[in-house]
Symmetry: C2
Subunit: 337 residues, 2 copies
């Protein structure tokens, strides 16, 4: 058994934001290292995940999970190594990924562990990105809800992000024309050069709507939506008959309190016999390993590329979500401990 320190550094939710959580809503605090009870094990976290959905996890409004309690460790995915175990299913040295929270060490009885990471030939950090929730989300949301068919035009918003970039590449592997929507020259370049989009459009540009039209001359068959808002309204106005709109995130909406308005969707959907459907990755929990196996094979074959942006040290955590929403990241945002 590894010698463990006496204290554990953790990031706690200090106050509840109504919109995007900022650094001030968190505090870093030490706690005693808990004793290891029978049936439990301790994971030393190596990578902490930062993702847009975390905004929802701290929000008081009804959502798809209960909010993180005030004073509680910030909920997050993390990946690390089992360093002590009194649990029959987990041995020292096992690599695991799960809802381990923003903390140095996590004690678990197995609850919240998503999986043992078995791709030892690939970096552990990938289990939080392209081989983690992000990649698995892109895989099932695109294939099961988007149902891409060869020749389809697939438009992806937040196209350079960790979910979007995987969705765009999987659509390309499915034989589609892919159009990425992102913001700024650096991300446009990433879309075209790193992620193989056929076209990339800057939503911040004055000619966004014309550029989108030029990039999708045959209309839009699948819209993989991570943003909602004005970006989506522009795409939805271009959908084709039988289009599928995958609602995977609403990154462009700063707050749902008060609930924002937008152009009514009903007539678009009716005129085009089109579908708009929400996607939650947990609905596909029972098929998680199927997706990871597929994604890992593509990564090994060089067909699925990813980009990580790793920041070092727990001190970066409190501002990390706000930073995501400021659009500053150029890859899957991770905190390395």
């Amino acid at each position: 058994m590894t010698n463990l320190p006496k204290t554990n550094t953790r990031v706690l939710l200090k106050s509840r934001p109504t919109g995007i959580p900022q650094a001030e809503h968190f505090e870093i605090a030490e706690a005693d290292m808990p004793a290891l009870e029978p049936g439990h094990f301790i994971v030393k976290n190596e990578f902490l995940s930062v993702e847009p959905a975390m905004r929802g996890w701290v929000n008081a409004a009804a959502n798809y999970s209960d909010p993180v309690p005030l004073g509680g460790v910030m909920r997050s995915f993390a990946a690390g190594t089992v360093v002590a175990s009194r649990h029959a299913g987990y041995a020292e040295g096992d690599k695991v990924m799960g809802m381990l929270g923003w903390q140095q060490y996590a004690v678990s009885d197995g609850t919240g562990i998503r999986r043992k990471v078995l791709e030892h030939d690939l970096p552990l950090s990938l289990s939080l990105g392209v081989l983690g929730i992000n990649g698995v989300t892109a895989y099932f949301a695109l294939t099961e809800i988007g149902e891409p068919r060869p020749g389809d035009t697939v438009v992806v918003s937040t196209a350079a992000g960790s979910v979007g970039s995987a969705a765009g590449q999987i659509a390309k592997l499915a034989g589609c024309r892919t159009v990425g929507i992102t913001g700024g020259a650096a991300k446009l370049k990433m879309c075209l050069e790193d992620f193989g989009y056929d076209a990339a459009v800057d939503y911040k540009a004055a000619d966004f709507q014309q550029a989108l039209a030029a990039a999708s001359p045959k209309g839009v068959d699948v819209y993989y939506d991570n943003t909602s808002g004005a970006i989506s309204d522009a795409v939805v106005a271009r959908i084709n008959k039988f289009a599928r709109i995958v609602i995977c995130g609403t990154a462009s909406v700063a707050s749902w309190d008060p609930w924002p308005s937008g152009p009514r969707m009903e007539r678009h959907l009716l005129n085009k016999s089109a579908r708009m459907q929400g996607f939650l990755v947990w609905d596909y929990e029972h098929r998680y390993e199927e997706a990871v196996a597929r994604l890992a094979a593509w990564v090994r074959e060089g067909k699925l590329r990813y980009r990580e942006e790793i920041i070092d040290g727990m001190a970066a955590a409190p501002d990390a979500i706000a930073s995501l929403y400021r659009g500053e990241n150029l890859g899957k945002r991770l905190i390395r401990l």
Copy 2:
């Protein structure tokens, strides 16, 4: 060959409405009875259909079909009897239903004929209602898009209408709890007494939202939407996990020019992994007879009830669509010639 009159009375589109077509947008005019060319036949219309979708057919805005040209015969379904034929596929005496228009006599080469009406044991008028587009719409939209499962709560808007009443009854036959939304005491009574809804809610009542909640204590699994607007917003706020929202019509929206706004749907759909999908009956054209056979069997068994409101004479046609939108009808609106 029946003796035909020298002239044919027709209802023409005189000017193009932006919203709901009113009597003033039409005119009744006589034309010469056309000569019967080889390969053609003449139908004497007995019933003309009046339905909400006709608003879209005269509207200049992009829609799922080209608009009726100014000066042209108003497009509509009608049912009648072949009275003269030089077409090998149609004989004098055949009952037919199709896009025959608001006119006494229609000449056809077969184009626009939906089907020969073969249910000679049932009234011909049913081919325009419960055994026509309305019933077929309800059947496919509910079963294929709504996917009702036993025990589901199914909410239907314009619940007493010809589409809604069929949808509600088919949902009940599928083992669901059915909640009808309609306006006014007479239609509430129809919902409960004629169409067997488990509950009926008046959208015009001050306590609409509370009444809807009381009528759907377990939330809403399927929403069969014929209205859009505030009615839909109230229902969508109550959807359950994996809910299916069928967009079949937008009767409560007076105009889509300018395009109306409403609460954004994305977060509802995302939180509930729910689906919203537009339905157009023509997408199921190849399965039309399958639906009619099913519906006719239910009608014969007394399991599927309908209500017609028949008005006599062509003079009633110009105001008939506006009257529908005023909510004055208590059954499938037909004009009998």
